[in-house]
Symmetry: C2
Subunit: 698 residues, 2 copies
């Protein structure tokens, strides 16, 4: 039995992350299926089986070929009402149904969030970063949040809002991680251990969001987690693998690849293309920076103005505007993931979108694609894409922050891939029209197409996402897991670096850090260097002329202690030898003190207000007066201490690396004061000339 | 000017890693070219230009087609001496030349290492791990090591020994990192900062070794580095990118891909194949575990026996045996990288090795490869591969540890890919002979080849390398960057996990950790959990009945202090208020004390042996006697302290995360003792019932 018990102890971590992986994979699969069905519902219905989406509906029909959007089994809304599928009347009916369904989905999502789980709104990543740094937000990872976030995500994405389900999937996975950790006492009862599970869950979230297990692990390492021990790396890897595998088995994308936007390009990139790639990076950095700036301004405005009081109305207005503008443009009407996939792909025989309307004819499937002049379709597509880009940029600023679950990855990727595709088409036509230029001489002289606009879309997508989130390594890995383009690491890296540098030059925080600051979460950034010359002495409480609350080890009565508890709201008190000497003995937490006192009153006889509270190990004899209250067992005899001359740089480092909540400050062994995490955060804010009082703390 | 200075300060880190990347890339390119030339020299020579290797020699000839090994420009050794290129006589001449060249190269390598840079031997990774954990080995990363290691690596690989150049390349890159860090005072003068550069350099090393930049960063994170801040992640990424790019520009592999073993498989893997993949993982784990065990035993035997005194003789014997056995078998005669590449690839039209001698005919290039019975060539190849496997396994145990630069990655990959290929061929023939089995029913029923033996080789290679090094995430990433097989993450992950679990079940250390323990380096493993219940009190010095050397702040004379310095060899001394009270004031390092005293004797008048050494800030007045020696400025007023009741778990954690060298132990503000890193390491050894005295310390 002991053997089983110790085995269970050793394996419980693995079992827990395994379960998290399986369940999160299943959730992601269901969410994908739900989203796909509901999105298609805006366009039409499958009368034979209304729970089929368009693709499944057409599969179930016997037609082996159906062209693009139409198969006889699938009825678009005008058809349902007996109209012709084409013509002005049908267009208006479709338009109206599109808007109505969108409004319905969005209002449902907003109502669910508001009524059942207010924490389910937003992307959740800023909060998860804060939780992983050691802060506790009760209920943030509960089962209601899980349920409502999953449902709300399906509804919000189906409403055609400019948002993605990637960030929320991380939140969902963390909820699952949190819920399962309670099944394993080793993890459920220890916050630090639980954070290991949550780190793995964050990796699982990205893994299922993109089908990118390694990218997920790196995301957890780079962006989400605060302290990431190597053991966690290995477990996260396992969990991400399991989740990706479960999702692949459910196969919501309906193809054999386990990657979301699988693309293959015929040609490798050529050296000179690094120039447009870096330019894309710069553009991505600028867009990301502007996006963060405007979004934060808008969110701050929402907080302070009347608008914040009508979140449901805001959701409806944003949805109405989005749907109204999105429908006429085919590139915004379609699913954002489909748009990204379309932009990433290269033009081949099968692709009959306007984007591929080149003046070339495919006589032989096997010959390489030749470079060709753009046809009128391409020119039209370019205009529509430019309009789509402007629309996406503006509407996403207003969308990120409304009270529905909403992620930023997909909209950022969409913006980036539009820019990239436009630049790519430009480069391609340049190479077609001026093949004699030295820069094109080598590769383009054969008449083959040496420029792949789809690759530019991929690089642009990475650049904008990099500019918005300031992720680096994890982003590159996600991008190439996403696309299967292992050959294109160098272009991706170059663009992401350019984007990050440009973004950082204008404002150091990514969107998630900016939202953490906006919301005033107590997050001690582990990336920023603290290089000020202040000493612990300058930061510690009490400052000058403030009183310091300590407990002496053998001279305070129960009444004294209870008075102290009433008068202050500190989380704990240092215990010293005597008030005169102030030599430090230990630290006692308020919670333990409360419990011990109330228990002692119940169980021990003779405890009265005048009883001495004793923290020493032995009772001095002979003892006079009422029986003492002996509390040595609740005393933390090993509090972390520093001296008053310790530079704050070291102190901040200790808070980060050891995950401290407070440290005691001594001088020659005497207690001088205390520094809490709140004091450190306030001090940093103060040094950065921001308002120190904006730091929240539970 | 100030602006330039602060700019330089901010950018110096980036500039430094950029330079490291460029130079390491160039070094790797030169090493690759040198190795390829020298390896071919064992087989023949290019009379027109002796500095050409076989491939270049044949390129320069005008024959557009040449079959495999022969072109008229390249003369094999029998041809040089006027023999027929075929026949028994020619075979013997080739054999002898092969052995002679191997011996020449190996003895040159061994002599260079012994004469100029004894640190250049081995893989270097255990030492780099130790250095990155905070230990300093003078000269280990110097310019002589760099030069001799680069040269020796070329020679050792060319000698056909069963070793790779991947580990040594990490060492070379770290040497370059160390040398460049001196050009930037911010990094050269601060050991902690320098380690950031070295972490990036380790990433660069793997990046150039495999053309795998992301894998390199993860290797540095998972395996090499001890403390890896996120800033370092981003810089390592940049450096690895630059290095990979420089190497790609030099293009030593002579193909357009930036990956070493580029393979593309036609078919995705099928679910049932996970079973053989996991079996491969288990085999890999067992082989890795056995390899570590035997290699460590042999190295320990070498250390204690006479043999250790004749390292050059040992190198020659190993080389002679390797060359003698390797030549007759074509799979061991060829370059190990070529062998791995051959085993990874799938059989197509162009591949005319015995391994691809199937009973199929390629009438049409475009049709899929059908499954077919193995021909006699395959059966012969299987036997030869099995022999090669046994040979490699045995000889590598004796090779790793001889006094030449030698890495383990390539031999491990070679062993693994042989096993994998064998299993793969077995599975393939099983599917061919029993297509009606349920497990093969789905994918294999079409007559296409559903089993790719090359994929098995890849999975097997990852499994054995995982078993030997116990790398996880980084290994999977390196493998798929290496092969470009992004689709095959799940099989790779499954095999690596199985391998790691099996390996860990029998012995927790990977080969590098085992060598760290063997050599007694003071390395505090950050992966192992320390879960004993001892307290700081039990570990600290002085123990019972030992004397404790402290300095008082205002009562010891210069003579007392100098006597203390003579009598002890501690690196530093705590300073206390008085010998009676023992309240801690600060900590003073021996080095600072020595310098301050000798300076004071020179510059300050009136300092005699009876002068009081004062660490207080003010001189008590009136002062009597000779002028005091005031040393407050060298006193560290912020030493890290803990209480005697602190659990050792916390203490170990602090040592790891804060990179401490010692911590002072107090009780109620009074100094009780000191715990140094050495004490911690000894205590861990003691708890693991190993010899505590085997810990080295400079």
């Amino acid at each position: 039995w002991d053997w089983i018990k110790s085995g269970h102890d050793a394996w419980s971590g693995w079992l827990c992350v395994f379960l998290v992986g399986v369940i999160a994979g299943a959730f992601a699969g269901m969410i994908d299926i739900g989203t796909s069905w509901m999105s298609d519902l805006r366009f039409g219905i499958c009368p034979e089986a209304f729970w089929f989406n368009q693709e499944q509906c057409c599969w179930s029909s016997n037609e082996t070929f159906y062209d693009g959007d139409n198969c006889s089994n699938w009825y678009s809304w005008p058809e349902v009402f007996g109209h012709e599928p084409n013509g002005a009347g049908a267009y208006i009916i479709s338009y109206i149904f599109y808007i109505l369904w969108s409004l319905l989905f969005a209002s449902l999502a907003a109502s669910l969030v508001m009524m059942f789980a207010p924490y389910a709104c937003g992307s959740g990543i800023p909060e998860i970063k804060t939780i992983l740094s050691g802060f506790i937000i009760r209920g943030y990872l509960g089962k209601w949040t899980l349920l409502i976030k999953s449902l709300g995500m399906i509804l919000a994405v189906s409403a055609g809002l400019s948002l993605g389900k990637e960030g929320p999937l991380v939140h969902v996975a963390c909820c699952i991680g949190n819920i399962f950790s309670y099944a394993f006492p080793k993890y459920g009862k220890n916050e630090a251990k639980k954070r290991e599970i949550l780190s793995a869950a964050a990796a699982v979230g990205v893994s299922v969001a993109f089908g990118a297990p390694i990218g997920g692990v790196l995301f957890s390492l780079e962006e989400a987690s605060y302290y990431f021990p190597l053991k966690t790396l290995w477990r996260s890897f396992f969990a991400a693998l399991v989740a990706a595998f479960v999702l692949r088995s459910i196969n919501p994308f309906g193809n054999e690849h386990s990657v979301l936007f699988y693309v293959e390009y015929n040609k490798p990139w050529i050296f000179i293309e690094l120039v447009p790639f870096i330019i894309l990076g710069v553009i991505g950095g600028i867009i990301g920076m502007l996006f963060i700036k405007f979004n934060i301004k808008w969110c701050r405005f929402r907080k302070t103005s009347l608008m914040g009081q009508y979140p449901r109305l805001e959701v409806l207005i944003v949805t109405l505007i989005t749907a109204f503008i999105a429908y006429p443009n085919p590139y915004t009407r379609m699913n954002t993931s489909n748009l990204i996939y379309l932009l990433f792909s290269q033009c081949g025989v099968a692709n009959n979108d306007n984007l591929c309307d080149y003046q070339r004819n495919f006589t032989n499937v096997n010959t390489a694609i030749e470079i060709a002049a753009a046809g009128p379709g391409v020119l039209q597509a370019v205009w529509l894409l430019a309009l789509a880009l402007i629309f996406k940029c503006v509407v996403t600023v207003f969308t990120f922050g409304i009270k529905v679950p909403c992620g930023l990855f997909i909209p950022s990727l969409a913006m980036g891939s539009i820019i990239g595709r436009l630049v790519g088409i430009g480069m391609e036509q340049l190479a077609y029209n001026y093949p004699e230029w030295a820069v094109f001489a080598g590769e383009c002289s054969t008449g083959e197409n040496c420029i792949t606009p789809g690759l530019y879309a991929m690089v642009g997508a990475a650049a904008v996402l990099g500019g918005v989130t300031r992720m680096t390594v994890s982003l590159v890995v996600i991008m190439f897991e996403l696309t299967g383009g292992v050959r294109y690491i160098v272009p991706l890296m170059a663009a992401v670096m350019a984007s990050k540098w440009i973004g950082d030059a204008f404002g150091r925080e990514g969107i998630y850090d900016a939202h953490i600051i906006l919301n005033g979460y107590p997050f001690l950034d582990s990336k920023e260097e603290f290089s000020h010359t202040t000493l612990a002495n300058d930061v510690m409480k009490p400052g000058k002329n403030e009183s310091f609350y300590v407990i002496t080890q053998d001279s305070m009565t129960l009444d004294d202690v209870e008075q102290l508890l009433r008068e202050t709201d500190h989380n704990g008190f240092p215990v010293v030898v005597s008030r005169q000497s102030q030599y430090l003995v230990g630290f006692v937490a308020r919670r333990d003190l409360n419990i011990a006192i109330s228990q002692a009153k119940k169980t021990t006889e003779g405890i009265v207000g005048e009883s001495i509270v004793l923290f020493t190990s032995s009772v001095p004899s002979p003892w006079m007066g009422p029986p003492p209250l002996r509390l040595r067992k609740i005393l933390d005899l090993a509090p972390i201490t520093i001296t008053d001359h310790t530079p704050m740089e070291t102190v901040v480092d200790m808070f980060r690396k050891l995950g401290l909540r407070q440290t005691l400050v001594t001088h020659n062994g005497r207690l001088l004061g205390i520094i809490t995490k709140k004091d450190v955060l306030r001090h940093i804010k103060f040094l950065e000339s921001e308002d120190p009082e904006s730091v929240l703390f539970n």
